[in-house]
């Protein structure tokens, strides 16, 4: 069946309004996008690492989650959801549960790239039938914009401030999607919010319904930390993919596939410019740093094209 935005958008919401996420935040949009891929008749147990998403959607005594939801700690969303899946299998085997359940964990980059990596890696290695979704906003936003290993080089954060001596974070971010692909799980993909939400929907559907562990890395901009105008959320996402800073691709059963190739690859400046976290890079003395970013992005893009059989 062909993808229809109208049909998909008419599905009942599973993360409902009234939560406290910021205007212009990518995370709840990403979560709703993932949950839309669930068949309406299927149940889900969702979980989240400690972070913005958790504290803003499940504030006692209210929850914005229509499905069962569990949060235990910052570092163990992978273990928590894999435990729920293991319990489900045991109860199903004993005939104590009839319905079909799906298991989805959400974590920010802090809870995924850094603190929760061990827990996530273990859950993937054990082969649970679950999806782990990283909503990657490239720093610890919930606690006040501290750098993570997902923060790109030269980003101004509160723990890697741009000043007279150093120009923001001094290290490149790690490539988590490829680290997860190296677990040889049935499905790993990188996506973000696109105008028709098709990429996110199709990848979520595969991740949820393909048997075994799956990982989705969703770039989810943060207006507080990235310092863009809140209505520009979708524009920022588009620039991320059109500059090839955040390429859209998937690895299904070991096959690498590029799911979007920009007609015209834009220069990284276009993505950096509307975000004040990169403002310092546009000073005369720092322009060479933008060149360094461009060089890095070009190299990574070339490698990816090769992996995806595009060259």
């Amino acid at each position: 069946m062909a993808y229809s935005l109208k049909e998909v958008m008419n599905k009942p919401e599973r993360l409902i309004g009234g939560h406290r996420m910021c205007a212009g935040c990518g995370a709840p949009v990403a979560v709703r996008g993932v949950l839309r891929a669930l068949k309406p008749e299927d149940r889900a147990v969702c979980g989240a690492a400690t972070g913005c998403l958790e504290v803003s959607t499940f504030l006692y005594p209210y929850t914005a989650w229509k499905d069962s939801f569990i949060h235990s700690a910052f570092e163990n969303a992978g273990a928590t959801i894999s435990g729920a899946e293991a319990a489900y299998n045991a109860l199903k085997r004993k005939g104590r549960i009839k319905d079909e359940y799906k298991f989805i964990a959400f974590g920010g980059d802090g809870g995924t790239y850094d603190i929760g990596l061990q827990s996530l890696s273990g859950a993937m290695e054990r082969g649970h039938d679950m999806v782990y979704v990283c909503y990657d906003n490239e720093a610890y936003m919930n606690t006040g914009i501290q750098r993570s290993s997902g923060t790109p080089i030269y980003t101004d954060t509160t723990t890697s401030p741009a000043g007279d001596v150093l120009q923001g974070k001094q290290q490149f971010n790690k490539d988590l999607t490829q680290i997860m692909a190296a677990h040889n799980i049935p499905y790993a993909a990188q996506t973000t919010l696109t105008a028709d939400f098709k990429d996110l929907y199709l990848k979520s559907e595969k991740a949820i319904y393909k048997k075994g562990p799956a990982f989705l890395n969703v770039l989810a901009p943060c207006p507080r930390g990235w310092r863009y105008n809140t209505p520009d959320l979708m524009k920022i996402c588009k620039l991320a993919v059109d500059t090839c800073i955040w390429p859209l691709y998937e690895i299904e059963d070991g096959n690498w596939k590029l799911t979007y190739k920009p007609r015209k690859k834009l220069s990284v400046e276009e993505y950096l410019k509307p975000q004040n976290r990169f403002m310092h890079l546009f000073k005369e003395k720092n322009l060479h740093l933008i060149e360094k970013i461009q060089k890095h992005v070009d190299e990574r893009w070339k490698e990816l094209l090769k992996k995806c059989g595009e060259v």
């Binding site: 149940r43 147990v45 958790e54 504290v55 499940f58 504030l59 006692y60 005594p61 929850t63 989650w65 229509k66 499905d67 069962s68 939801f69 569990i70 949060h71 235990s72 700690a73 163990n76 729920a84 319990a87 489900y88 109860l91 549960i97 009839k98 319905d99 359940y101």
Partner: protein, 317 residues
């Protein structure tokens, strides 16, 4: 159901608090071993003592038979409707955990009947009622939530005794909140946890033969702490030594001593109480060491008071 020890337990310190706050009746074997540093692996109680305020029921075991019996009882205690708390069953690493002992086992069916089926009131995979667990809770609610958790721990004491009663009917093996050994008419007493109780009982027997009124109290249930019952059992002693196989590095003594002294306050607060830190990092404790403690207690009794109450037993000079 799970098991852990030493640094593995400490690594999950945060989860201990979360598990008990979520009212999850987990049963966990904690094989007591020294917490780093230095890295050691041998027996002391620094691991579970460090977790004493994490909201878990803690039950200690002198022998493998006790560890086995406590574990079976622990499941029912934790799952009781008025409790719903995780339970840590502790025993001494290596000294008993790696010892060969004959123990009486129960039949599987007997254990299953005794433990019963776990039917939680609310759970994540309930098709009729999706629930959310582990919220962010703010000052408007957390205080009341903690009070409820405290009530569960208070309720546990009665349940532990009820379960022990049923266990006795089934096996003939009797358990209480603690074991009082020749304590009734004793003048000199020690309080001890886990396998050292066995060593100390041998010393008590020897002393009794010499006409010395020695006795001991072996802790079984440390959380909830049966303060009143312990104070009643100890209050007629003339001198008391509390044996801590864990340092709390408070500058004044170990964790068990702090609990015992606070229990005695108002009931027998004139009693001279001395605290021995012993056996850290698996240092062997022999009958001669325990004998030394009773010798010291004899001196203290004669004098009627004690000044240096924070002592190390068997420290190399």
């Amino acid at each position: 159901m799970t098991a852990t020890s030493a640094n593995g337990l400490a690594l999950m310190w945060e989860m201990l608090y979360i598990a008990s706050a979520m009212k999850l009746p987990i049963t966990m074997a904690c094989v007591n071993r020294a917490l780093s540093g230095p890295l050691n692996i041998h027996n002391d109680h620094s691991d579970s003592m460090g977790a004493r305020d994490s909201g878990w029921i803690q039950i200690y075991s002198e022998t493998n038979q006790e560890a086995y019996d406590n574990f079976i009882q622990g499941v029912r205690i934790g799952e009781h409707k008025s409790v719903q708390l995780p339970v840590m069953i502790c025993q001494d690493g290596f000294i008993t955990s790696h010892a060969v002992e004959n123990i009486e086992l129960m039949e599987d069916d007997e254990v299953k009947d005794f433990v019963g089926k776990y039917d939680p009131e609310h759970y994540l995979l309930n098709e009729k009622e999706p629930i959310a667990v582990g919220p962010l809770s703010l000052p408007s609610h957390t205080f009341e939530q903690k009070r409820e958790q405290a009530q569960s721990m208070i309720n546990a004491k009665k349940v532990i005794l009820e379960v022990a009663k049923d266990f006795y009917k089934l096996t003939g093996r009797r358990y209480g909140l603690f074991e009082a050994y020749k304590l009734e008419d004793a003048e000199l007493g020690i309080v001890v946890i886990n396998s050292t109780a066995g060593t100390a009982k041998a010393v008590v027997d020897e002393l009794r033969e010499e006409g010395i009124k020695a006795g001991l109290l072996k802790i079984r249930v440390f959380r909830p702490f049966p303060a009143d019952e312990i104070a009643d059992a100890l209050k007629n002693l003339k001198a008391l030594a509390v044996m801590d196989k864990a340092e709390s590095l408070s500058g004044v003594g170990g964790p068990l001593a702090a609990e015992i002294k606070s229990a005695l306050y108002g009931k027998a607060h004139d009693m001279p109480v001395v605290n021995y830190i012993y056996g850290l990092g698996g240092r062997d404790v022999k009958t001669d060491d325990i004998k030394k403690v009773y010798d010291d207690l004899m001196e203290i009794m004669k004098k009627g008071s004690v000044k240096d109450t924070y002592r190390y037993l068997g420290l190399k000079e």
